[in-house]
């Protein structure tokens, strides 16, 4: 019952790794193959004008949408095969670390009597604002 902190930590770490694997591997493989088809190109071209605003290429739409709607891990899994530059990866990381897993996590805020719209507005507003600041401040 009372396992040592080391044993508990190892078990939780392995559990988290398993959750990571379940989210990352399918997303990674899906995006890896999508990148070989015209589909990713089409999505990229659609998203490019919007994402160009924060210094991102159109294909970044995939990890952003998956991360926001499904989970942070899924978003990371979709981000990795795109092999963006450090600057672009950092902007995606800022957006996704602030705003991920929105349907599930927003449900939590309602439990404490805070409106879901407030939580969504804070996260999306902050994500966009910080991405824009980073894009404008990071001159290579």
């Amino acid at each position: 019952m009372t396992a040592s902190p080391l044993a508990r930590g190892l078990r939780k770490g392995l559990e988290t790794t398993w959750i990571l694997a379940k989210a990352i591997v399918p997303a990674y493989v899906a995006v890896y193959f999508l990148a070989k088809t015209p589909i990713l190109d089409a999505v990229s071209r659609l998203a490019a004008p919007l994402l160009g605003f924060v210094g991102l290429p159109g294909e970044a739409a995939l990890p952003l949408v998956l991360g926001m709607v499904v989970s942070l891990y899924t978003g990371i899994g979709a981000l990795a095969p795109l092999e963006l530059g450090v600057r672009e990866a950092t902007i995606v990381a800022v957006i996704l670390s602030v705003a991920h897993n929105l349907p599930v996590e927003t449900a939590v805020t309602r439990q404490i009597g805070v409106s879901a719209w407030f939580a969504l507005a804070v996260r999306l507003g902050l994500a966009i604002a910080l991405a824009l600041i980073l894009h404008l401040a990071w001159r290579v």
């Binding site: 930590g9 770490g13 694997a21 591997v25 990371i76 602030v98 604002a129 910080l130």
Partner: protein
């Protein structure tokens, strides 16, 4: 021929995804061990005491400092349980619930979420600094707006 190419691509994708997972496991497993020791030694109680003066400046009472520390470090799955408990027992005011949401919705599990991006080449200090700094500034701005609105009715009213 096409099938062989497809299988080869699939194998490449799965092994590369596996490498990504392994590099994250190398971060997550030690992190979880450290967190379990922090809990064992009750360092979150001390962290929340240490955070209390700063939390006071954000209009949070001591009751809110512990869920804040736990949520910021451990993540929502652990922190939100504590917050929901505090809210149900009536230990959080309405404004405190809004301030906690403004802080924790964008900024929780700060070590895990930050370190997961390191294998992709992201600088963790930059990522954490931008995320935590932005969250704090936004919360301070919201508090100022709520205080100004206080004379005119419900604080944090956004129903």
């Amino acid at each position: 021929m096409a099938l062989a190419g497809l299988l080869q691509s699939l194998w490449e994708a799965v092994t590369q995804a596996g490498m990504t997972v392994l590099s994250m496991a190398a971060i997550v497993i030690p992190l979880m061990v450290v967190v379990e020791y922090l809990r064992e030694w009750r360092l979150f109680d001390r962290l929340s005491e240490w955070l209390a003066p700063g939390a006071g400046r954000l209009g949070l009472s001591g009751n809110a400092a512990f869920p804040l520390a736990a949520g910021a470090v451990l993540g929502l799955s652990y922190g939100s349980g504590l917050i929901i408990e505090s809210a149900r027992e009536g230990r959080l005011t309405r404004q405190e619930a809004y301030v906690l949401t403004a802080l924790l919705a964008p900024c929780h599990a700060i070590f895990e979420d930050t370190l997961l991006f390191v294998p992709l080449g992201v600088n963790p200090f930059l990522l954490l600094g931008v995320r935590a700094g932005g969250t704090l500034l936004l919360t301070l701005a919201l508090i100022r707006v709520w205080q100004r609105a206080k004379g005119r009715g419900d604080p944090g009213a956004s129903r």
